[in-house]
């Protein structure tokens, strides 16, 4: 993904890049090697946005203040849009199921699988 494309996809989320999003993005890049090269950055960014998003919201922990919740919502929405633009239907569905699983566990106060584990599984969906 060119720097310009990353910049566009981070519109309004720029501040998160230096606060852990960049690091997560790089870590997910290592998990998307089986996909087409041009898709890899988008998939990695989508996964990183989900992980940052649920963290910002405080999902499964203490509720975030409204401003952080809205920022987390935007991360999830952006991730979803990136996936619809570039990922296959099974991956879109698997990402959604990952968030359903996390949110369902959070609402039930049961232990959820690690976010990363769920998202890596979603990235492998086909």
């Amino acid at each position: 993904m060119s720097a310009m494309v990353i910049e566009r996809e981070l519109d309004r989320l720029e501040g998160l890049w230096s606060e852990g999003l960049a690091e997560l993005y790089r870590s997910y890049l290592e998990e998307v090697g089986r996909h087409e090269p041009e898709l890899q950055p988008r998939l990695a960014l989508a996964a990183a946005l989900v992980e940052v998003g649920v963290r910002l919201q405080g999902l499964g922990a203490a509720a975030a203040p409204p401003a952080a919740l809205l920022m987390g919502d935007l991360c999830l929405a952006r991730s979803s849009r990136i996936l619809t633009d570039s990922a296959s239907q099974p991956i879109q569905v698997a990402f959604a199921r990952a968030v359903e699983e996390l949110a369902g566990a959070a609402a039930s106060s049961t232990e959820a699988p690690a976010v990363r584990q769920l998202l890596i599984r979603a990235l492998a969906a086909h």
Binding site: Q92, R97, E100, A107
Partner: protein, 459 residues
């Protein structure tokens, strides 16, 4: 009277296409109990016939047409050197026009006890004479209708919502069920259902699934909104955040946000998925703007429009466009419906703002003032020469019961509500003009009525 179009595709130069089942379905769906269905071919090389669907007989008919107007015969219509204004893709089809003259382009069938009246061997055919082509028949149903002809469609969405929530974990399903059961206008799913009838591939069950997913998505955003706005009640009941705590509200919102996007992805229609995803992103961005603007409360008209276009209108527009996309309507229809939904959404929000000042709405007056929510009547009142200074002074300070009541009184006494009402109705008329630009299979009056009703309300 109900008017509609029946679209289909022929695959052969001459073809008898049996439309009996589709016409029966239209009659049943319409709720017509006793009356008539009028059919009209919209083409000069497509006829109509009521006859027996027996393959050898259909070959006899084709043979008869060939003998009476042979395909390799000479027709003056095909001599392009003698015709004016001949299109570059004009087909050589004099034989097809002549054959159509032997058939009819019209048919009226009777309906009794909610069923098409046909003899044992009778079938209704569209007769293709110059295929293969995309074709359409206009039809009108008139007579006595069951009281709620749309009930089936509405019921389908409610059933789908019930079914979808039934399989979810109770900690998320119970609060969402309470929110859904408390009411809501179900405008967005209604728009999906209407616009999904415009393309050639209308599938009621698939449409109900998309409509339900859009409604779930809308309600998921409300769950988070209520936490952000610190609202204690919605639709007369405690909000999820108030009843279950903010942690649960965040989880419920996330769960249904994800579930709705999954259901939409599972439609397998990428245009639909992209339309909804773009709307969701616009909603989230404008929520951030909305909260940011509360520092400059009550804001200005341009900021208001920017926020409302994302916060409310984006999902209206997406509902309209995605229904049409699901049924494979043409891009010009999808675009016109998107613009209609966008304008309707803004007008709807303006009407919603006015409800906050209506004592007959059943809601506490001045809730938007108390919560410092962006509201056009407040913006106009703050700009007003007479009441503006006092409104601005009150809004700049702490807002207790007395201040809220006074601001509401000042807004009601100013021309602000009238201005907002006029603006909302103007937007609806603009939305209606968008509908005039495209073919809408007889649904235009319904969409116009829905738009006008959305702004002429007090709840």
């Amino acid at each position: 009277m109900i008017a509609h179009r029946l679209r289909f595709e022929s695959t052969h130069p001459t073809q008898f296409i049996d439309l009996t089942d589709r016409i029966r379905d239209e009659v049943r769906r319409s709720g017509l109990t006793a009356g008539r269905i009028h059919l009209q071919s919209l083409h000069t090389t497509l006829g109509l016939a009521v006859n027996e669907n027996e393959p050898l007989l259909l070959r006899d008919f084709a043979g008869l047409l060939e003998r009476l107007a042979p395909g390799d015969g000479t027709y003056e219509h095909d001599d392009f050197t003698r015709r004016i204004d001949v299109a570059s893709d004009e087909p050589v089809n004099g034989h097809a026009h002549c054959r159509q003259l032997l058939l009819t382009g019209f048919a009226t069938l009777l309906v009794e006890d909610g069923e098409l009246v046909l003899g044992r061997w009778q079938s209704v055919f569209a007769v293709e004479l110059d295929g293969p082509r995309q074709r359409q028949l206009a039809f009108q149903l008139d007579g006595d209708f069951a009281k709620r002809p749309a009930a089936h469609r509405d019921d389908l969405v409610e059933l789908e919502l019930t079914r979808l929530l039934m399989v979810d974990p109770e900690p998320v399903a119970a609060p969402m069920r309470r929110l859904m059961e408390a009411g809501g206008k179900r405008l967005r799913p209604r728009l999906v259902q209407l616009t999904a009838q415009l393309g050639p591939q209308y599938e009621p069950l698939r449409t109900a699934g998309l409509a339900a997913a859009v409604e779930i998505l809308h309600n998921a955003t409300l769950v988070h909104d209520d936490y952000v706005d610190e609202s204690t009640h919605r639709r007369g009941r405690p909000t999820v955040a108030a009843a279950e705590g903010p942690e649960r509200a965040i989880a419920v919102g996330d769960y249904y946000f994800a579930k709705a996007t999954r259901l939409i992805a599972e439609t397998g229609n990428n245009d639909v998925t992209q339309t909804i995803a773009a709307a969701l992103e616009a909603i989230c961005e404008s929520q951030i703007d909305d909260v940011a603007l509360r520092g400059a409360f009550p804001g200005d008209h341009d900021s208001y429009l920017r926020v409302v276009r994302g916060k409310t209108a984006a999902l209206f527009a997406a509902a309209c466009a995605s229904g049409a996309q699901l049924s494979k309507a043409g891009p010009e229809v999808v675009d016109a419906l998107w613009r209609y939904g966008d304008l309707l959404g803004v007008a709807f929000q303006m009407a919603d703002d006015m409800v906050d000042f209506s004592p007959s709405s059943g809601k506490p007056v001045g809730l938007d003032i108390r919560q410092r929510v962006l509201s056009l009547p407040l913006i106009y009142a703050a700009e007003d020469r007479e009441v503006g200074p006092e409104v601005r002074r009150l809004l700049a300070g702490a807002l207790g019961d007395d201040e809220v009541a006074r601001v509401a009184q000042l807004v009601a006494s100013s021309p602000a509500l009238q201005r907002v009402g006029d603006e909302a109705r103007g937007l609806v008329e603009e939305a209606v003009r968008e509908l005039e630009k495209v073919e809408l299979n007889g649904l235009r009056p319904t969409l116009i009525g829905l738009a006008r009703a959305a702004v002429d309300r007090d709840s």
